[in-house]
């Protein structure tokens, strides 16, 4: 996969620090699966966490026996973790589906999902991973554009299938648009197949223009 648009360093630091809302963390994990460049920078951001862990003045454990009691547990079996459902097929969810997203969707392919129609040529699925903001899959047909909008907080968009063009550039499968409240954009699907994106925000979007304000209540983002 030839990735040209990457995660911002600040976003990778937030993922490393564990402070992203769940939907944005999910999207970051999806991009990391296919992007060695961002994995390298994440390793550096996590090393910052490791260095900071060493800098903290240690706080003694409450019990002098803490070590003994943990040593006593070393042979015990880990509690039966909610094992992720074994995903069948060569690549659960299809080749365009990151594994961590396939887990979230119980291994269903994009075409097997229940898309909700928003406007002609635009469909979406709300993923509800919890936390502030919204996380959804958006699917828009060739020649269709998403209403012009800006953001109050951050918006991450990961292209899963197809491509789009906007004020920022051209985004293909694997590319991520990492935008903050300074950018307004209007993605247009200029290819001849549906474009499917995973989009995660940490605050509601601001739509501009009458069309945008009309659809906002329906999109609910």
């Amino acid at each position: 996969m030839n990735i040209r648009h990457h995660l911002d360093d600040a976003t990778l630091m937030a993922y490393a620090a564990g402070t992203l809302v769940p939907g944005m963390a999910l999207l970051v994990a999806c991009h990391l699966e296919s992007c060695a460049d961002c994995r390298d920078r994440l390793a550096q951001a996590e090393a910052v966490g490791g260095a900071l862990l060493e800098e903290l003045p240690p706080v003694a454990l409450d019990s002098d026996n803490a070590l003994a009691s943990v040593l006593g547990l070393l042979d015990s079996e880990p509690p039966a973790a909610a094992a992720p459902a074994p995903l069948s097929g060569a690549r659960a969810g299809g080749p365009a589906m990151p594994k961590v997203l396939a887990q979230h969707l119980d291994g269903r392919d994009f075409d097997a999902l229940e898309w909700r129609s928003l406007a002609p040529g635009v469909k979406q699925i709300d993923l509800h991973p919890g936390g502030a903001g919204a996380t959804r899959l958006l699917r828009f047909a060739p020649g269709v554009s998403v209403p012009h909008h800006s953001h109050r907080g951050n918006e991450l968009t990961l292209v899963l299938r197809g491509s789009y063009n906007d004020e920022v550039g051209r985004f293909c499968a694997g590319d991520v648009a990492d935008l903050d409240d300074q950018v307004a954009h209007q993605p247009l699907n200029d290819a001849n197949e549906d474009c499917i994106c995973l989009i995660a925000t940490d605050a509601p979007l601001r739509f501009s223009g009458l069309m945008g304000r009309l659809v906002q209540p329906f999109i609910g983002m």
Binding site: A10, A17, R39, A43, V48, L52, P58, A66, L67, V100
Partner: protein, 177 residues
């Protein structure tokens, strides 16, 4: 020396030696507890979770790759994930690579440890404004929007301060290779 802990963890993963685990526990459990308290966790819960984190150090040691991270970084990520799982009652989404997919350049463990020592020194030298946002993010667990609100500065300024800090810290990797 941090290098020593990385070698210790790698050796424990190989030999399953409990004496090595005990050494790692004595060093890291109080630091993980301190980190969890800084994140806002009640001391009793932090105590319990620090023990749980050390238990997962033992159980997941086979996943530790000294070419990717040093001991403190790896243990930091385990503690962070446990904390998220506990606070949000959901899993920290982590990426999974295909077994046959190469994952960047492996460094040798010694090199990673040198980087870590330099990294700590470099963090101490950051300008106040950059160190502040770094600490608020990693230690206080605040999102960038929350930091912007607390400091009364635009979100973009929080992110650019973090980027500036990260650029300085990233230079450590360049220097050592």
């Amino acid at each position: 020396m941090r290098e020593e802990w990385t070698a210790c963890l790698a050796r424990m993963a190989e030999t399953r030696d409990r004496a090595l685990f005990a050494r790692l526990f004595e060093h890291f459990a109080p630091r993980v507890k301190a980190y969890l308290i800084r994140l806002g966790m009640a001391p009793a819960q932090a105590d319990e979770l620090a023990q749980e984190a050390m238990l997962s150090v033992w159980r997941k040691a086979h996943l530790f790759n000294p070419g990717k991270a040093n001991a403190s970084t790896w243990i930091f990520t385990l503690a962070r994930n446990l904390c998220i799982d506990r606070l949000r009652r959901e899993k920290m989404p982590c990426y999974e690579l295909d077994a046959d997919m190469p994952d960047g350049d492996d460094r040798d463990a010694g090199e990673g440890a040198v980087i870590s020592d330099r990294l700590a020194a470099c963090i101490r030298r950051l300008p106040e404004a950059q160190a502040q946002v770094l600490y608020m993010s990693y230690y206080d667990g605040r999102s960038h929007s929350e930091i912007a609100e607390v400091l009364g500065i635009p979100l973009g300024s929080v992110k650019s301060r973090l980027r500036l800090a990260f650029d300085k810290l990233k230079a450590m990797w360049g220097e050592s290779s």
